[in-house]
Amino acid sequence: MFKDITLGQYFPVDSPVHRLDPRTKIILLIMYIVMVFIVKDLWVFALVIGFMLFMTAMSRVPLSYVIKAIKPMKWLLPIMFLLNLFMVRTGTELFSWKFITITTGGVRQALFIVLRLVALVSGASLLTLTTTPVSLTEGLERLLSPLKIVRFPVHELAMMMTIALRFIPTLLEEADKIMKAQLARGADLENGNIFKRAKAMLPILIPLFVNSFRRADELALAMESRCYHGGEGRTRLRVLKFSRGDLAALLIMAAMLTAVILLQRFLPFDHQIAAFVKGLLGVGK
């Protein structure tokens, strides 16, 4: 039951993207997100999408896996699209019937919202598809390490994240076993109103919590008995290395970002094209 849920959807192949330093990938994602948000032009957006597809191809992750990440939004996307289409009233009017009015501004906004969401989610999922959860937290720890100066517990936070990630599958498996044990004792989890069902969850939640606390205790003991005492002076098994590939990737991304900003500023393609189309159709003045 619970075991079928896949978490930490890492796709294990070897590729230039997989080999990048997790820090690089996190920075790339941040730059990419900035890029997605500053683009206001459909043509430039095509460039962003193209970049995304290029990265996916480089990573050797099947496109279908990236698309799977978008699937949970199959209801959100159409709703967002329609809301923006009908609610936004800027630009010229295209269509009007009773209380429904569609404007050029609405069409733009609706398209952009959908494109932005798709671009964001697929970008983020490409990161988790090409980076193991452990190296992701490692990268995060290193990136946030300047915050240690203001006594922010960066190492502890990263350690907590690593442990949590490590124990999610264990916990799901255990929940499955507990559920079976109680079902075998005739527990009824499916019938009754919401209060009844909430109460029926108790025989599952209590053992789950009790076991988790016990496990946490044991883990703490096991860590201390191996001399763990926080991040200070701790060395690493795998030292993150910033390679030439990382530098190249960051430079390409920086170039992309600059290009997008410049294009955005000096080449308002959209308006020219809109004018061109209108001219052809002989509408609008």
């Binding site: 255990e174 044990a181 009790v210």
Partner: protein, 285 residues
């Protein structure tokens, strides 16, 4: 009426790349009052098979009928499940209530029995597993020792008066005295409640002591099924599968190899002692 398993095949994560066939074409009948021992290497599919017996899992192919109730059918499953009591390996997956008394009565309560009947059954179950009522009834199940927890978990199932008692490695992690106690308890219920017992165990000695029928699983298939005599005379095959034949069978084999004239069907300590005493007695006369 018996439990009938017909051409049962089960594949985990069917249809995905991780698909794994844990059971292949299993057919087996468990008659009323029978004691069946289920043995096999770790990962041979024992736990998967017994979870099918009370419908906690549905097979990919084939079916299980419990006293005529088809466990693939959602409506009949509840009725069949009430006949099959299932004891899992870890009591920690099952204990949840404030007191031992309340925890044991969880199953009978789910069966919608009246207060009087529940009370009677809880007392009876506690007596059968050797938990003193006055001492333990009001204790929290979380402050018990490992052995007491296991007794409580067993009592929780016995109080449901199952017609078939299924145990998944009930003796794992117990000391020799604890093992013997649990095994004796199981023999006791069987005599008093007249239930059939299906027990998974790694210990051939335990199986040899009580089982009337032994089923050997290998890689998801029934390798052999027969009386303990038939199965334990196959010492070499068992050993090849990574299973250790019972002590008495090993001993008798070794003595035979060294020229002692012992019958081939010895697999319990009692039989070995008897055979040896006969030889010794004969030599003296």
């Amino acid at each position: 009426m018996p439990i009938v398993i017909e051409k049962l095949t089960h594949t985990y994560q069917n249809g995905s790349v991780n698909a794994f066939t844990a059971l292949k074409d299993i057919s087996l009948t468990i008659s009323d009052g029978e004691f069946v021992g289920l043995i096999g290497h770790t990962g041979s599919g024992k736990s998967t098979l017994i979870q099918m017996l009370n419908g906690l899992m549905q097979p990919t192919e084939g079916r299980v009928t419990v006293d005529g109730f088809d466990m693939n059918d959602k409506k009949q499953r509840a009725k069949g499940r009430a006949l099959v009591g299932m004891v899992f390996q870890y009591p920690d997956h099952q204990l949840f209530d404030e007191t031992v008394y309340k925890d044991i009565s969880f199953g009978p309560k789910n069966m919608k029995l009246n207060e009087e009947e529940i009370d009677k059954r809880v007392r009876e179950a506690m007596r059968l597993v050797g938990l003193d009522f006055d001492e333990f009834a009001e204790k929290s199940p979380f402050e018990l020792s490992g052995g007491e927890k296991r007794r409580t978990a067993l009592a929780g199932i016995i109080a449901m008066y199952p017609k078939y008692l299924v145990l998944d490695e009930p003796m794992a992690g117990l000391d020799p005295a604890g093992r013997r106690a649990v095994l004796e308890m199981i023999d006791d219920f069987r005599r008093q409640l007249g239930c059939a017992v299906i027990m998974v165990s790694h210990s051939m000695d335990d199986i040899a002591r009580s089982a009337e029928k032994v089923v050997v699983l290998r890689k998801g298939e029934i390798f052999r099924c027969g009386t303990p005599q038939e199965i334990f005379s196959l010492s070499d095959e068992l050993r090849e599968m990574g299973l250790e034949p019972p002590f008495a069978a090993r001993m008798a084999g070794e003595l035979r190899r060294r020229g002692m004239d012992l019958p081939k069907d010895i697999y319990t300590n009692e039989a070995l002692v008897k055979a040896l005493a006969e030889i010794k007695g004969g030599a003296h006369v």
